[in-house]
Symmetry: C2
Subunit: 262 residues, 2 copies
């Protein structure tokens, strides 16, 4: 668990949760542990996704994947425990009584985001698309990615907003921002797989194309993917600017997502 959580990573989900809190006038402190829970949940998804029965990835965050370092049994259990304690952090923090209703709401949002109608549904759709072997079209690629990665990114913004007592209008704007940033994140991820190398990425490059994965470049080509990336970032920035204080750090985070090199 420690090995995989502390192997690095961008910490995008907790950062988005904290930035969302600040953008709606909240404080960071009450969101710190729940935001950490989101990173534990993200790490669980990476560990299980890397397993031989799933994506069979031997390298993650520049180091051997969890199952390569510790064996499959420990990797399965480490992922299980990170999911358990990730949701546990959302149940337990912040500890003050006044947060109970908000914690229950935040937990439901995260469970929806990572369950069968979210992340796991996306992973199953991804598996099915791969085994069907059909050429990926844009609608399928969007469906897979909106669920597989987009939903937890959106939920991270929701957690920050909910635990900061945000009103419904602000929560909706955070969600629109999260939807656009999540799309941008995934398009960029797919582009990096095409355009980068393993040393920079911290994981093998070119693997998606080799595996016939449903990616944006495979569905619409590199140029159209780059245009979609620019549009998604612009949309995210516009949504964020509609929040108090012009969205605080949220606009620059959207631009970071498109600029990042790993």
């Amino acid at each position: 668990m420690r090995y995989s959580v502390f192997a690095g990573g961008k910490r995008l989900r907790p950062i988005l949760a904290l930035a969302a809190a600040e953008a709606v006038g909240g404080e960071r402190a009450p969101v710190l542990e729940p935001a950490s829970g989101l990173e534990l949940i993200h790490t669980y998804s990476l560990i299980h996704d890397d397993l031989p029965a799933l994506d069979d990835d031997a390298i993650r965050r520049g180091a051997p994947s969890c199952h390569v370092a510790f064996g499959e049994a420990v990797a399965i259990l480490a992922g299980d425990a990170l999911l358990t304690h990730g949701l546990g952090a959302l149940a337990r923090y912040p500890e003050e009584e006044i947060y109970n209703a908000l914690k229950v709401r935040a937990l439901a949002a995260v469970v929806d985001a990572i369950g069968t109608a979210g992340m796991i549904g996306g992973q199953i759709a991804d598996l099915e698309a791969e085994s069907a072997g059909a050429a990926p079209d844009l609608a399928l690629v969007r469906l897979i990615h909106e669920n597989k990665t987009g939903r937890l990114i959106r939920a991270s913004l929701a957690v920050g907003g909910i635990l900061s007592f945000a009103d419904e209008a602000h929560l909706q704007r955070l969600d629109a921002y999260g939807r656009a940033v999540g799309l941008a994140f995934q398009i960029k991820d797919d582009l990096l797989d095409v355009e980068s190398d393993a040393g920079t990425l911290g994981k093998p490059a070119g693997k998606d194309a080799a595996a016939g994965k449903a990616t944006f470049p495979a569905a619409v080509g590199v140029e159209r993917s780059r245009a979609m990336l620019r549009e998604s970032v612009a949309e995210a920035v516009a949504e964020a600017r509609g929040l108090p204080g012009s969205g605080g750090r949220l606009p620059e985070l959207a631009e970071f997502v498109a600029r990042r090199i790993s």
Copy 2:
């Protein structure tokens, strides 16, 4: 998920949660969905435990294990989703505002029970004991089983009690009952592996001994295990009788655990 949840099973954990609710003067209705969540969590633990990298069990509840029926990838994700939605059911139900503080408390109890200091810790200790190959002693067997199966059984009683507004004295008594019933359950499980056959059990018999598993019969022999089983049931019954209405169905459930044939 449906395949494994509806393959049968005793439903012991939800039944204990409902019986605990009744034993402290609560009602069944508010506990139904959280109790179902406990069964989803239990089923997740079975699916992952049966995987080739862990216990490598091909038969469960009289039918092919999840990974045999659907492949390892789907089995891993099905387990992940059952854990997710199991905890989700505890976060979401009962829906009334008045339960928010209780739900947060019940969730924390379940997370503790199934996390690294509970079920997953027990599974890791079990893996390590197997790979060390040392002769199991009673302290190690108890440690493994108290965590691997005992903690979720105790948490099931806690969930029923907490969501029924039980006072601390009653919660402590439910916990003492759960500790004794959990021990009885596991001793009986180990004895069935020695004494029964696959047709009756719905899973292979004699597998623990063949694998050099840390079991009560391996540690202290069959006769002493039977005596410990009787003592644990007697202790559970005594604890239950101290609850209002003599513990309702709890005493007979303790006796069922020792009498069961699968």
